[in-house]
Symmetry: C2
Subunit: 372 residues, 2 copies
Amino acid sequence: MRFLHTADWHIGKTLNDFSLLNDQLATFKQIEQIAKAEHVDAMVIAGDLYDRSIPNEAAVKLLNQMLQKLNLVDRLPILAISGNHDSAARLSTGTDWFAYQSFFLNTNLARAFTPITIKDTQFFLLPFFGIQEVRNYFNDDKIKNVNDAMQRITAEMVKSFAPDKHHVLVAHFFAAGSKRTADSETLIEVGGLSAVTTDVLSPFDYVALGHLHNKNALNEERIKYSGSPMKFSVSEANQEKGVWLVDTAPFCVKWIPLTPVHDIHLLKASFDELITTADRKPRDDFYDIELTNHDRIPDVLNKLREYYPKIVSLHRTHQAQKVQLNLSKKRAQESPLDLLADFYSQTMGNKMTSQQRKWAEDALTTVMKEEN
Amino acid sequence: MRFLHTADWHIGKTLNDFSLLNDQLATFKQIEQIAKAEHVDAMVIAGDLYDRSIPNEAAVKLLNQMLQKLNLVDRLPILAISGNHDSAARLSTGTDWFAYQSFFLNTNLARAFTPITIKDTQFFLLPFFGIQEVRNYFNDDKIKNVNDAMQRITAEMVKSFAPDKHHVLVAHFFAAGSKRTADSETLIEVGGLSAVTTDVLSPFDYVALGHLHNKNALNEERIKYSGSPMKFSVSEANQEKGVWLVDTAPFCVKWIPLTPVHDIHLLKASFDELITTADRKPRDDFYDIELTNHDRIPDVLNKLREYYPKIVSLHRTHQAQKVQLNLSKKRAQESPLDLLADFYSQTMGNKMTSQQRKWAEDALTTVMKEEN
């Protein structure tokens, strides 16, 4: 059989207060087109369907519309689980009715051990879980971490393996393989979760993961993150987004990229360069701008917004965040002028000129007078 | 055919912070038993399934469990609409899948005009609506109030009447018949909605209404509120709760009462009487207590809670709420002692004794000294 593996739709997510609903719908349509063109037998959505446990009404409507289109109009079976961003209780509304139409949405650990069989494959739908939940389920307090938990879960699932079928796990967690490159961005995304080692997942023919937004987060042939179908943060600006097409026999995994509806661009330039080159850049895309100017530009964000309406982040090459103020006792005894000079040089990367120092002295003298 | 008419379940409602979920489940089981024992062909739930637009997770789980039991286990068709307490968008999750199992949940005005036919009856499922929604739907700004709106809606529905069928409207609004007794409680429940006159509803063989919690709110043979299945406020303490059983041919409406799981009692007594009689009253029921004592009883609420743990309201026969303080200029010039004497007599219903007046004078003298 052939299935499409996607995850982390995060319907309702905003990017710096910009709604992404229209982009999410357009991206969904690309996924739907791929599913139809490639004649897939099922859609796998590996968790984080919504961006938050209580999505707003527009998000609820949109996700319903998407799932309804795929399942009831296009007549595609869906295999989905809840992720850490979803409320399992809220997402589970209607699941018992969905199943009659081959839309299998699992938000419940206990149901993860009954596989869903479609053609030559058994799918095990494991929702995002907490360790305590697994301890309770197996009545075993010796489960100390996510990896212990996953070992128990896998062992239990293997008991239901039909020998003549392929076995696919759909799950939502942080998988750590020996080849993993632990870059800081990935660790930030994990949000404090401990990891499942990939050897625990070896009984499965394929593991369709959700959670990490980068399809390259894991370098394994048969254990894959699809990543999110869209860029959801500036840190994802350089990631290619897409979906996996998986054939079970003969086994084959193929990446199909998705086209960004409104891309996120990282710009590093001076104010003048940004203005001059603006007409060559897509006006409705998202921009993260690093301003290289040293000098203060009044109302700079609003000025730039005339050219780049959707700025999601504006920062400076030379800015205060690099300043490390030493608030020790010694420092507290320094003169206001020395403190100011220090602050200036740390912020701007060069010392005050003698004219600037003169201005500062005059200003401080005036302030001191007013205080006394 | 025979159907059961209920409404206003308000799943997730609390009574003075006491959860009603267990009572709601127990009440549901009574309704389910009636449906089975009476061999109904369908369940009608006329809106306000939830108590609020964003119910908590426990409420979401409970309503899903109830609907799943009725529809998928007991195999009863369900005809339901959204009420003003429901979020139409949130409640609509899954509706397209529900319909395959004869669970017809309508939250959408446009779908109200396509009847659902079960046996000999066409059901028109009209969700709670706003006037603007109806204006938009008919593209008609001349619709000025709810009654105009309902006239247009009824006229449109009549076009789809099959002559050989009975016609039932399921709706959620405030219906005002000429025989209506407009008591203040009913008006409070209406919450500022204007009313639909019952003549507008005459084309229907039966109108199953939700919104008002009192089954006697309307005195019509074929237009009925089922009321809520439970008492949800002190003002409902003396109402009998239940469901209607409706037979279409020959037409027959029968009231079947439900037993309160934990009743709400109105008590009016002195503190001593309340303590003495407590052991003859169901400890886990809800109590609205009117205390007849004149004297102040320190920590009275907590003392009473030892005997009546679920007090939802405590008030006094002689209490400050009857006091009308006149804050005119003239009053502002009165002496503190005169003001206090006035306040005392208004609150307690009798004048201060000379001893009380002496104590008040002494206390005021002390206070005045401290102020200066």
